[in-house]
Amino acid sequence: MQMNYRRHREKLLFLMFAGAIGIILLVIGGYQLIEFMDSTSFCGRLCHEVMYPEYTAYQASPHSRVACTECHVGSGADYLVKSKISGIPLIFTTIAGNYDRPIPTPVENLRPARETCEQCHRPERFAGDLVRVHTTYAADETNTEKVDTRILRVGGGESEVAQDIHWHIAAKVWYLPIDKKRQEIAWVGVEDEAGGLIEYVDPDKVAEVTPQRLAEKKRLMDCVDCHNRATHIFRSPEELIDMALAQGKIDKTLPYIKKLGLEALDPPNPSLEQAFTKVEALEEFYRTSYPQVYQERREAIDKAIEELKEIARLTTFPKMKVTWKTYIDNLGHQESPGCFRCHGKLVAAADDQEGEVIDADCQLCHYFELQQK
């Protein structure tokens, strides 16, 4: 380089100065880019149609203040890189519109809950018994209220003394699912203190439990094996209307409000606009069938219509073919096998245990004393 020329020297100085500042700006810009790609707005809204049901359910969920990446990526550069690389094919799938409708679950490569959920939740905590008061309403004129109280023996605790439902997390429980949805469990192995395994098998599926399959497919039970819809919870209109009535978001003294809401939203509507039209027809119902209520309670009717529209928004996803029945919720056993994927089904494999079935007694997880009182 002809450094003796002042002009050349100044050019080089400028280029070097611009390059140095550029590196600093690249670091800032790169950080901004990563931060943006980790944002909920990026995950939920960029691939709008694909993620619309998941994003909508997430916004109304108990984890709505936890960013998507906290659970789907977790901390650490290796997982950040892995997630970005695994996301590249999805960009092309989304652009081409080749994605599954609805999105299949469970997510195959979701990071273990021990590295995500347990960063905030401490499974060793002894939660004791949880009293759940469940208020439902009948689809009659007075929306008859029914209160059902259940006691859940959540338990938990350090591994040596863990008990009840959260014992499953304190202990090391391995299982072998033989279907993609992890509903068919053919084998369970509980690690004992000596490091051995107490094994249980499904008598109908013994042939499918091979050493190779066990080595490749067995999973260590964690939070998401039961709490599999902890965030993307698709509740039914009935459940959401009951919740809104119990919370006072919908006035429970409005005649037939539960029945009307259900008729408008269940079965699912082919579009959100149609759901809104059906909900708005409630006004006409009260005007013609209950003119006095319509005159005196206009505000309550309008509020109920707005709330039912919000429920429609949380339950109507025709483009992705998602309804409240699409995804299985493993928590409990009301709508899906849940606990009974193993309990009452698998039998002890050891000869000395004489085919003892994994206990399915209600008292294992519930107390009924409060209900009886």
């Binding site: 380089m1 080089l12 550029g22 590196i23 690249l26 880019l33 707005s41 960029l46």
Partner: protein, 70 residues
């Protein structure tokens, strides 16, 4: 002005200058604006421009050095 005119007297240095100004403007915009958050597609394009401009800046730098050898 004459000093600056002397530095930016060829298209490569001018391109480097424009590139530099664009990076500064983009980073500043991304710090202070919430538009990328509100419009994620715009955000993707916007945030991706910084590394793209940096790489193009690097190419310009190399070309400018090579040219100065001629």
């Amino acid at each position: 002005m004459r000093y600056l005119r002397e530095i930016f007297d060829d298209w490569l240095t001018r391109a480097a200058g424009i590139n530099f100004v664009l990076i500064v403007a983009l980073v500043m915009f991304n710090v202070f604006s919430d538009l990328p958050e509100r419009y994620p597609l715009f955000g993707v394009i916007n945030f991706s421009m910084v590394p793209i401009l940096f790489i193009s800046g690097g190419i310009i730098f190399v070309l400018a050095i090579l040219k100065s050898y001629e």
